[in-house]
């Protein structure tokens, strides 16, 4: 794949995944990896930063005798994810236009 998933896009994807439902570190990693092919090793700093920016919070739940930390989107996070989506649609639309050009590319 020639195109790289930059940090903003990664942020947007993480927020979007959490928008659907709360999830925990490992599960989030698996989902992002599945859909984007991004290596899981880069995800923790992103989560930590988003948390400090107030876009997500954490809570703990006891699971099979041990603790599991869940991530949840905040109101601010929801708003940001909507903003990202709108910006993405605009951006990707423009890129699509340029790349498509006049050809059919068949």
């Amino acid at each position: 794949m020639s195109f790289q998933v930059g940090s903003t896009i990664l942020d947007a994807c993480v927020l979007s995944v959490l928008r659907k439902k709360d999830t925990y570190g490992y599960q989030l990693n698996q989902e992002i990896k599945e859909k984007l092919g991004v290596s899981e090793s880069t995800l923790y700093p992103v989560l930590r930063r988003l948390q400090k920016e107030g876009l997500l919070t954490t809570y703990d739940e006891a699971v099979m005798g041990r603790n599991r930390r869940y991530y949840r989107l905040t109101e601010k996070g929801k708003e940001q994810s909507t903003i990202y989506y709108k910006e993405w649609k605009e951006f990707s639309g423009k890129i699509e236009e340029i790349l498509k050009g006049e050809d059919d590319h068949e």
Binding site: P45, R48, K52, R66, R69
Partner: protein, 211 residues
């Protein structure tokens, strides 16, 4: 590599960051290992522990530079901790001196003194987090115990300063010096860590303006 080894490496690599950052990272890694179920899979997913830690540090540095409020928070924390420690040291010094005098004057109220010493020792023990305080306290208490026994069986106390009095005083002094010394020792390590954190943050903050 297993979970413990991985965590040890990142703990060392992240040692310069505030404790909260280290704890959060360790928690994340720990849970990841548990959820992955397989150590190899987990290590493969998280990547090289040194790189993992470096990424966390980089992100933290960026965060600090963009958010001076975060730096302010740690600066305040540092000042508060310093003040608390200074206060505790003063309190322990005063209490030690007071207890020594008390030991000397309340010769016959041993039971009361015994309770006070145990109480004081447990407070200091829990504060200094140093297990060596306990034997010292017990030893001092034993000295006082024996002095009391000695007094009880000594019916002719002619001089004002008897052997028992001396032992009481020594016991009291031992507690004061020992406890005071050990709490400094216990605190010095914490102090070093705080100083290192603070120095690291100061450097970061200075570089920020250069950017």
């Amino acid at each position: 590599m297993n979970k413990q080894e991985y965590i040890e490496i990142i703990k060392r690599r992240l040692a310069v960051l505030p404790q909260e950052e280290i704890d959060e990272a360790v928690l994340y890694v720990s849970e990841y290992f548990e959820d992955a179920g397989n150590d190899e899979k987990a290590v493969q997913a998280l990547g090289n522990p040194n790189e993992f830690a470096d990424r966390i540090k980089d992100e933290y540095i960026i965060g600090i530079r963009e958010n001076p409020k975060e730096y302010q928070r740690y600066q305040n924390n540092y000042e508060t901790i310093k003040a608390n420690h200074a206060f505790m040291m003063m309190l322990m010094m005063v209490t030690s001196i007071f207890l020594s005098i008390l030991a000397y004057t309340l010769l016959n109220e041993f039971a009361f003194f015994f309770v006070v010493v145990i109480l004081f020792s447990s407070i200091v023990f829990s504060y200094s987090k140093n297990i060596m305080v306990l034997p010292l306290a017990i030893f001092s208490v034993l000295i006082i115990c024996s002095s009391w026994v000695f007094i009880s069986f000594n019916t002719t106390l002619s001089s004002s300063m008897s052997l028992a009095d001396g032992l009481y005083l020594i016991g009291g002094m031992l507690i004061s010096i020992g406890v005071f010394g050990l709490s400094i020792y216990g605190w010095k390590n914490e102090y070093k860590k705080i100083m290192k954190e603070n120095q690291f943050l100061k450097n970061l903050y200075k570089k920020r303006d250069v950017l």
